[in-house]
Assembly symmetry: C2
Homo-oligomer: 190 residues x 2
């Protein structure tokens, strides 16, 4: 896979990316997933198919980029004033979004058209950044918190593992259970 | 996706499956991954392409089945007489195999050609069964152990998450760290 050109905001490359992504969204919404093809997307975006092939390689790599863009969090996590409340709210929302049919489709797309792992890595970077915000706030309040990688292992990893490999347990109660495991159960706190 | 016919051992269906899987292995070993196509596999297996399309749908679904078959553990986990030693040995081997280029390719294949999630679920079932053997032995020895689902969350999920989404940490030391987290760190045991 050749490296993707960087998209300078406002440059031609960024405009092509925006119009191609928008064309994928529009076609999918109007005609469904099966209608997505490079020629159809190109026609809708007003570019040539070869522009898409040059930049993305194939349909799967394009859909992987679109999926990662959609998986990007739109806002910082809620600030409820307490690490347990913040992580619980974040984990419940993450699980609900990722376990939904749409979320699963994006995760799948992100993984499939991603031979070098860059897009999958970006998904993890998004989650890590959100968790770091929550942990950073807690540290500023003087709360003792685990480090970010430990929270990824004990909270994010089990949710993603069950979404991809092990159906069931994809509920608020499960998210709460994992937060307890990540922070230590309340009944064990002194 | 239509349901796959069951392969009765010794029946025609089982013979077709065995010869097609063997053809995939042989072609891949001789000519590499890029040489795999349904016509080439069919010719090598001595079946018609339509036999493959009827049974597997497409190349991706066939490769998913082949991958799951290769990910099936060949023997029960080592019995070292102690749950910590058993889990450590199992986790180190699991991580080494799954994080290898070959292991990653199989995980990827298993996920990609698996629209209904059955093959990904089978991968998790294999890991769960191995862990259950280790925990069952420990219970028979009177050791207190966590339940299987807790071990999947705290040991298997982080390894798979980092293999798929978050490069780095794929070492024996990381496997050991996760076993400690799953069982409680030794220094905390009374």
């Amino acid at each position: 896979m050749s490296p993707k050109p960087m998209a300078r905001p406002g440059g031609r490359s960024a405009r092509v990316q925006a119009s191609v992504h928008a064309a994928v969204h529009a076609l999918e919404a109007e005609q469904g997933r099966a209608a997505l093809s490079v020629p159809a997307i190109a026609a809708r975006a007003g570019v040539t198919p070869s522009t898409i092939y040059r930049r993305w390689g194939d349909l799967q790599e394009l859909l992987s980029d679109v999926a990662v863009e959609r998986l990007r969090p739109e806002e910082p996590p809620l600030d409820l004033g307490d690490v347990r409340a913040d992580l619980t709210a974040w984990a419940r929302q993450f699980l609900e979004e990722m376990a939904s049919p749409t979320g699963r489709a994006y995760i799948r797309d992100a993984l499939l058209g991603d031979p070098d792992g860059g897009n999958a890595g970006q998904c993890s970077t998004y989650a890590a950044a959100q968790i770091e915000v929550i942990l950073g706030r807690a540290r500023e309040r003087g709360e003792a918190v685990p480090d970010r990688e430990a929270v990824l292992d004990s909270l994010v990893a089990p949710m993603m593992y069950r979404i991809l490999f092990r159906p069931g347990r994809l509920t608020d109660a499960y998210a709460d259970h994992l937060v307890h495991a990540a922070l230590g159960r309340p009944e064990r706190l002194v």
